[in-house]
Symmetry: C2
Subunit: 128 residues, 2 copies
């Protein structure tokens, strides 16, 4: 039952981002979105999306001629999965040191700091 999220490759992640953003989309849609940022062929995107269905990263509705693809897993658990991977590979599994690194290496915006503070407070409460 425990359906662990599958870790997407870079290309797959780029496509997932579009699907999360736009919702169910055709290859054409996704290709258009990705083309904004870089040169990429239509069939490249198509192939990638087909592979994603095979892997279980996406599902598709084939009832229309233009198949409609959906992300098979939500953004949050996917991010968590990628984060855990980096955690294990580069931070000896310590989330705190990852967070510290992230905080001290990136310019922080006050509103964001507040959001983090709120989460921190919440976690402290839950601890008791």
């Amino acid at each position: 039952m425990s359906d662990d999220p599958i870790r997407p490759s870079d290309g797959e992640l780029a496509i997932l981002r579009v699907l999360w953003d736009r919702g169910p989309s055709t290859v054409r849609d996704v290709h258009a979105a990705l083309s904004e940022g870089r040169d990429i062929g239509y069939t490249t995107v198509l192939k990638l999306m087909q592979i994603m269905v095979d892997k279980g990263l996406a599902t598709r509705d084939e009832s229309a001629r233009s198949h409609v693809y959906r992300a098979a897993q939500a953004e949050a658990p996917t991010q968590a999965c990628l984060l855990r991977d980096l955690l294990d590979k580069a931070f000896e599994g310590s989330a705190a040191s990852l967070v510290l690194r992230a905080l001290s290496e990136t310019p922080a915006d006050p509103a964001e700091l507040e959001a983090i503070q709120a989460t921190l407070d919440r976690l402290r409460k839950e601890r008791r």
Copy 2:
């Protein structure tokens, strides 16, 4: 002059971790360390470390018969580099959302939370 850290691959990162941990080491040392965790051939490690020298991820002292390798970049900037990469690929560049995800998805230990709180306070002060 700004010598941006090079992003290591997974295998390279595993080796860097050993070098950061143990300090300057021979291939034999690194191989021994990695063998603790998983099966890996000696020449595999050797080859990887040679490649790392080519790429500038490591340096080596060839004066002795057993060459001695050193990490060419420190741990912190390398972590920052990997973090930035993930940030761009999976969090639309928002460090805050990465931090939030990391905090809410991993069991937090009170001491770690305090460390994070301290950094947060420091950042807030610097803001002014």
